[in-house]
Symmetry: C2
Subunit: 335 residues, 2 copies
């Protein structure tokens, strides 16, 4: 294992240290190893619904990279590929509460769901109203390791972006939760792995793939997907992914969509654009309009090579909220 | 070789296709395989100095990712790790000319320098005034494969950003060239590779590294650096790189600097922040102030794992130009 790390047990703490120092204009770290979280530099916004997300580390920039104006108020990083415990989630919830309640955005993994639930109960004891939206956009498999039901993957970024904009414009907690739910209902994803990744404290690859083999429908922790197939062309792989995603979402002629091609961490940008090119063409063949696009590393799996395709069906309101200004370390647009 | 590509010979054309479609609000591709370049969606800005850069592909987002308001007017992608020929450079120069002349920003590799020189001569025949700044920020080695003198690496992004801001505020060609030169004189970089990368049309890794070996001072095409050493901790590696960079730049107490920690393409973001954390601490030990920071993939080498550290010494004017608005696919801030 060759990695740019020091003590494998210190990876998350040192990453958050560096991250908070590099983006001190936008975020601040709690600094406390027992209740580690990242929140907006200015603190909670009075009267605004707070948005908190989190989960295992190793998926950077998710979630801390999306803390800032127009998106999350706080993010809680667990150990690599391991859910954060209720205490830091509770601390982050408190820090994010501006008096209008807090929305928890949780990827659908058993540990995350349980720990966010416990934290929500603790928060209610302190008179903070919490609602929760569980994201489950991965169409690859019905159940999975660590998951009852579909997994939450790159669609989470779009839930956080759009719900963040709803909170920023002053929506109340019920409305922000409804918007987040609407995004989740209209977003689907599926990924492919060309290589495995190595969790630092494990010291060896999470799974084995032959030199000429790829895994279609991979999970972001390396969970098994639909099938292993011989390595194929980008166009063939993209067609498999896009067909599954667009089929499940029932993309129809005239639909306007966001197309997100997400890198798994070790994939050259050029390859993501080659996948994007084909995915866009296939959506256009179906009569859909690719109204907005994101291409890059948003929800990664350490140094895994591979990509995922996410399609979100837009309506007028979701598009306006998508376009609203956002100022975070990993996503920035608008004034 | 497992890559998300189709025909290895079509990688650049398909990448540019996808890139231009994904960022159609910002850029447009010439579409012509013989004279392939990317330029601003709105065309040349009348009365503004045009900025053109380019070089071999495989370093994305460099250069096309930096085309847009406040930065480049056009970028010319060659084949992977291969200089573009004079014809597309000439075509891009013409497209970027708003009547105030064009600055060529060229990384110091023999092929790039020669081909940009020829293109500049062709442009002069059509009455376009061209000036050239050659970037050579890599302190690792004096000469290298493909290079007489130091190589141009990640410091190029800062030259393009700051010279782009000078052009945007209305500086004339001599002034923009002087600013670009001043950035180059005040910026230094050095990198490390943990793994090699594979050029698509070559089909095998560019060099061999043992499982416990890293290359200090790597070039962005995999050119040899200073030495191969056994794999070490992130802090030890960072100290080697930062000491070389800050020593060569003679960073002194009271200096204000930009610290850029650049990923080589296959490196998890977490590792870049761990390197950033240590590099920042070492600069502060020297009494320097890290005034601005960039952490991410800016000048990559396909899927290579590794990172480089770049330090730019700021003065008041360079800082103001760095902070000026920029709107490109890969770098965005300000109104």
């Amino acid at each position: 294992m060759k990695k740019l790390i020091n003590d494998p047990q210190a990876v998350v703490a040192e990453t958050v240290d560096g991250f908070a120092a590099a983006h001190a204009d936008l975020v601040v770290s709690s600094g406390d190893p027992e209740t580690l979280f990242v929140s907006r530099a200015g603190g909670a916004v009075a009267g605004k619904v707070g948005l908190v997300s989190g989960g295992g580390s190793g998926h950077e920039p998710l979630h801390a990279g999306f803390v800032g104006r127009g998106m999350l108020d706080a993010a809680v990083p667990g150990a690599v590929f391991t859910s954060p415990t209720p205490d830091p989630i509770m601390a982050a919830t408190k820090a994010a509460d501006g008096g209008a309640g807090v929305l928890h955005i949780v990827k659908n993994y058993t540990g995350d769901v349980l720990n966010f639930e416990t934290a929500a109960e603790l928060a209610e004891l302190e008179d903070i109203t919490v609602k929760t939206v569980v994201v489950n956009d991965d169409v690859a498999v019905q159940d999975s390791l660590f998951t009852a039901g579909r997994r939450g993957v790159a669609g989470t970024v779009l839930v956080e972006k759009i719900a963040g904009a709803a909170a920023e414009r002053g929506d109340d907690l019920d409305s922000v939760a409804a918007i987040a739910t609407r995004v989740n209902e209209n977003v689907r994803s599926m990924g492919v792995a060309l290589t495995a990744c190595t969790v630092p404290h494990a010291g060896k690859p999470s799974f084995d793939l032959d030199d000429d083999e790829i895994e279609i429908g991979i999970g972001i922790h390396g969970e098994p997907g639909r099938e292993r197939i011989p390595s194929a062309s980008a166009d063939e792989i993209t067609e498999q992914l896009l067909t599954a995603v667009a089929g499940d979402l029932q993309v129809a002629s005239g639909d306007r969509v966001v197309l997100l091609v997400n890198g798994m961490g070790g994939t050259p940008a050029s390859e993501l654009y080659i996948v994007y090119r084909k995915a866009r063409a296939l959506l256009e063949e179906r009569g859909a309009e690719v109204t907005r696009s994101l291409v890059g590393n948003y929800v990664t799996s350490l140094e895994m090579q591979g990509a995922s395709i996410t399609v979100l069906r837009l309506d007028e309101e979701l598009l306006a909220l998508y376009d609203a200004p956002v100022h975070t370390p990993a996503l920035t647009w608008g004034a």
